[in-house]
Amino acid sequence: MTEKKLTKGNIALAEGSIQAGCLLYFGYPITPQSDIPEYLAQNLPKIGGTFVQAESEIASINMVMGASASGRRTMTSSSGPGISLMQEGLSYLAGSELPAVIVNIMRCGPGLGGIAPTQGDYNQAVHGGGHGDYRNIVLAPGSVQEMFDLTIKAFELADKYRNPTMIIADAMIGQFQEPCRLTPEKPVELAEKPWALTGRKGRDPRLVKSLYLGDYEQEEHNLLLKKKYDEIQDNEVMVEMKNLDDAELIIVAFGTPSRVAKTAIGLAREEGLKVGLIRPITLFPFPVNEIYEHSARVKNVLVVEMNTGQMVRDVRIAAHKDAAIHFYGRPGGGFPFPDDVLNEIKTALGGGPR
């Protein structure tokens, strides 16, 4: 079925989770993501699923841990302040190699901040936030359709690698409506989980843990995790690339800024300025090779973010050493507009690095 329905981003995500076979949701209310628990509170019981409004985000993520250890697809969602509270649990999920999907519909901070869209939680999602040496898989939808499709993908990746997978979207993507196909592109498959805790009947007892006290045990465990993260980096990069063939400048942006960038690229091309786009869809794994190759040729990169420059560091590391890296950021409570981005393009092409 290809029929599209006008759908809000958060609802597309919630429906995506149901279609991915997630029957257990645990969460705590916070704007601008509360449509997700509200939708699931309505709809999960109808299909024999479980919705629990936990007493806090700390409890939510630990309930997720229990459901995940049971071998079930499970999810929680929140926004900045709540995701901060989940960091302990996220570290435990990663350390215990438990799959789960964690959604952050980002609002602006620090602190209580505001409820306007931002990408201020990039570092927290991509570079840890919890203690210890671990990585989350991080997906960044750029449309309502991707809120649906990437939710299904998030469950797939989480199970495949036994790793927490985060979906981070700014409040804009969560809150606006677009036509969306609310059926999966391919049938959803649920794999066996031979590690799940289901009672020892007919087999040896199983254990899910993250404590390693013996000599070298923790090191060995961390090196195994590292191997897994390398595999993810090698195999799971998703990236949208547009107008790169003749480009003289590349914009790197994800989420709402990537859409603003697309409009700005149109305006620039009308004026004869050759600009292309690299949009990371996975933030970990990061499209390192793609950025390296194209920046080597194009030499001018403009990173547009809704923060004060978090992804720009990853772009700098990935980019060719001769590429000039420019940055334009709005940290939330205000928006990058296409004209602003166009001005930045012109400055970058006219001047050197800032």
Binding site: L24, V52, A54, A67, K201
Partner: protein, 250 residues
């Protein structure tokens, strides 16, 4: 010849990591005996808190999930909601349950989660080396209350069994002690009953066990047993504080 006393099937023969004189081992044995008697070992999932109890999986040959410090009741909630047909127990110390995990225990209890929690109250943080716990007695010396716990600055010891008993979701809340054969027998009955409550889907059940930590109390094992009787029981009275008899209680 009939064996009249043997190791329960639900207890492994792993050498214990507990200090000599510690009553965690007794609590473990009683839980194992109860699992044997009820025939639930094949479908039980244990969730230890962080502290001396964390190595639960070494001693019980059952599926186990290691929870973050204090969060075992939330983890147990997730497991039980995913698998209502399994028997789920959390095993927590006093720091775990009555300090960092207060919110998780109160709300799991209040939701009436159909799980069982074993609460080992030794009035001190054992594993981290004898710091003050929420259950540390007034006047008790610990490494972080070196002059004796003073209610003016450190508040009063928390009575968890009574506190939880006030919540409607709780089916069974009791306090027992592990310092004498008579008390151990009573503790065993309470543990069996708590499991039975869960099996009958009556709601949340909790068994608080007054326990020793002779190492951190800096007394001999025998003196520690006496301390339970002379110091702990007067402040933490034994008894059943809530026991539901029917499922429809409101």
């Amino acid at each position: 010849m009939n064996a009249i006393f043997k190791r329960p099937d639900s207890l492994t023969n792993a050498p214990t990591h507990f200090c000599p004189g510690c009553t965690h081992g007794i609590a473990h044995r009683l839980i194992a005996e109860a699992m044997d008697e009820l025939g639930i070992t094949d479908r039980t999932i244990g969730i230890p808190g962080v502290g001396c109890c964390v190595f639960l999986y070494r001693y019980f040959p059952i599926d186990a999930l290691e929870a973050p410090h204090g969060r075992a009741p939330a983890c147990a909630t997730g497991v039980k909601r995913a698998q209502p047909d399994k028997v789920i127990f959390a095993y927590q110390g006093d720091g775990d349950m009555a300090a960092i995990g207060t919110s998780e225990i109160i709300h799991a209890a209040n939701r009436g989660e159909n799980i069982t929690v074993f609460f080992v109250n030794n009035a001190v943080y054992g594993m981290t080396g004898g710091q003050m716990a929420p259950t540390t007695l007034l006047g008790q010396h610990t490494t972080t209350s070196p002059f004796g716990r003073d209610f003016k600055s450190e508040g009063y010891p928390i009575r968890m069994a009574e506190l939880l008993a006030t919540l409607e979701g709780v089916a069974y809340s009791t306090r027992v002690a592990l310092h004498s054969p008579k008390h151990v027998t009573q503790a065993k009955k309470a543990i069996v009953k708590a499991f039975e409550m869960q099996i009958k889907e009556m709601g949340f059940s909790v068994v608080e066990m007054l326990s020793t930590c002779n190492t951190n109390w800096r007394v001999s094992p025998l003196e520690a047993l006496k301390t339970i009787e002379s110091e702990m029981i007067p402040y933490f009275p034994l008894g059943v504080f809530r026991e539901r008899t029917g499922k429809d209680f409101l």
